[in-house]
Subunit: 365 residues, 2 copies
């Protein structure tokens, strides 16, 4: 069986935001721009977007209150801002957090969903159209139907998902990632790589999506040396953005798998960056999968030109540097939470609760 | 620059039509089923579709008057049938011809477009939603925004194109292609292969679309021996359908190029099947491209495991068998028509009128 659905129009390249006035006009007459406090301005994306909106005669309000690891409350707050400003569409600039906030807000501005039903998946078919402009190369959120919010009730991050939340338009210009702090560049690249890996070693993977995931993995191994040793040059930034895009397209089809399910606890309890959290667990996840799905793992390694899973571990270790320390008790709590995650079912080799604890211990102790 | 837009939801696999009741419900309460007179019934697709519609409580009318190489008049006739039956959506079953008819009709049923403006590209944003069920593996029309109609005024086939014409849903089950006459199986496979080649050797190709096109070419060389020597088995039929799907996705991004532009005359004047017409010209088109774009052609040949363009010619010749004969005067007329085709501009190496005539002569005399 093959399934593919990606209704987002993707435009990637130099100055694509300023060049998109005609595309923006189709989305409406009033926009709410959703960003964090600073980076959208510093990287030039906000200027480019407002210039395109001005050129298209579209009015806009800026809501710059998106926060890292956005909460349910912030999604409702952003939706209220969209309603108050009578926005026809939402334009989000940023990394995963403004995009996650904006995507949930696009749904909540168009229909009333009670907070207790927010993760139910039972929504109507209305959402404001959205345009997403990523300023990091990691999340792939610009081409997915997911919004990931901090869920205090479940002590983890939980995913809202609906086909109506696919962005209408994704505008990707690698120049916005030029000034990223080194840690952010590395962590987001690991996030993108983990999307490709988790989508490939996934029950829902198929010929088309698998090919895209392998291309992402192959491209990651190509750009790896630049990422590990240097400030990436513009060519490398373009490749990293392409890997992020591929990863997003892939997880939109398959969902993520165990590394994400398990990483969320590291972020929730220890405030470890999302991409880094995945990276800490990723080679353990691949090792686990190889026990029962050797051939799929070999295909993945082949695409990367690597001879063994430990080589993936070596690559990640160099990027991750010194690891945080954890106690056995912490890992037991995380394992108990992660074993309830929906995306575990996506794994080619779905880990048991004991195996989850083993992966945590092998990776983090 | 990278651009990708493919809003069609794709489902491919055994019994996917009968399994799609939930997806069909989203399209409306009344359907017009568009087919040719016989093949949709013989291959079982019509039964599967009506069974899914019945299961979903959707009423339908069957319009089985789609003809090979559909005319402008037949598109209007089909649109009138959709209006008369108050169809909320159109479901097309067939090869390229019913799909081309249905796609134009979906536009013409939702808005008034005068025949003289039919190829203008200036349409409103309305079209009936469509679901396409291909019964051949060639056209890729189930995932494109194109409808190709016979245009007597221009003595060729002309393309209607609009993003609003993308099908909402493509349902691909290789079993419908089991009983295809051998000639049809071969010609449609060549058509699909030509889509991949012409999309790759295309100014509008980019990293993402180029990868898909190369995968189509690689898959064609894999399945080639079965296609050339046998009745393809079910596994091969699945591969051929996948190549057709990839070709459709690719030309939706880039458009076709010179082999298509030049092939239309062979179909218009000599009634040579569309896929065969492309096949007769394809290696000449690649040879022409190689003169100025050696590296792109080498990449294409590399994906197919071939050492030279002449090997592509050999593969095609075996499939094509004995060639039709043409006079120099005929080819001059065809060259004069083809040199006005819009899709020539897509060619990496855009041929001059003289070069078009040369390709015709080298290929057909």
């Amino acid at each position: 069986m093959l399934h593919f659905y990606l209704p987002t129009e993707i435009v990637m390249g130099a100055e694509c935001v300023r060049g998109s006035a005609e595309r923006l006009v189709k989305l409406g007459k009033r926009a709410l721009i959703v960003t964090g406090r600073r980076s959208a301005k510093l990287c030039g994306a906000l200027d480019d977007l407002t210039s395109a909106l001005d050129g298209a005669g579209i009015e806009y309000t800026v809501w710059d209150r998106a926060e890292p690891n956005p909460t349910i409350a912030s999604a409702y707050e952003c939706a209220a801002a969209a309603r108050e400003s009578s926005a026809d569409f939402i334009a989000a600039i940023g990394g995963g957090s403004p995009m996650d906030t904006a995507k949930a807000a696009a749904l909540l501005a168009a229909q009333d969903v009670a907070p207790e039903l927010l993760f139910s998946g039972s929504y109507g078919s209305d959402a404001l159209p959205t345009v997403f402009i990523p300023t990091t190369s990691g999340t792939g959120s610009e081409v997915t139907q997911y919004s990931i919010l901090t869920n205090d009730a479940a002590k983890t991050k939980t995913t809202l998902s609906s086909p109506v939340m696919f962005p209408k338009l994704a505008l990707l210009d690698p120049k916005y990632t030029r000034g990223l702090p080194r840690k952010t560049a590395v962590n987001t690249a690991i996030d993108a790589f983990s999307h490709c890996v988790e989508s490939f070693l996934n029950k829902k993977s198929d010929a088309l999506c698998g090919m895209l995931a392998l291309e992402g993995c192959r491209s990651f191994s190509e750009v790896y040396e630049k990422l590990a040793s240097d400030e990436p040059d513009d060519d490398s930034l373009g490749k990293l953005q392409y890997i992020s895009l591929l990863g997003g397209i892939c997880i939109a089809q398959t969902g993520t798998a165990a590394a994400h399910a398990m990483g969320y606890s590291l972020t929730y309890f220890r405030h470890i960056d999302h991409g880094r959290a995945n990276g800490l667990l990723l080679s353990g996840f691949i090792e686990h999968t190889a026990k029962t799905h050797e051939s799929e793992v070999q295909t993945l390694l082949g695409a990367m030109g690597l001879g063994s899973v430990s080589k993936v571990g070596d690559m990640l270790n160099r990027l991750l540097g010194e690891r945080e320390s954890f106690t056995a008790a912490e890992l037991e709590e995380y394992a108990s939470i992660a074993s309830k995650a929906k995306n575990l079912k996506n794994c080619l080799a779905e880990p048991t609760p004991d195996e989850i604890l083993d992966i945590y211990k092998n990776s983090l102790l």
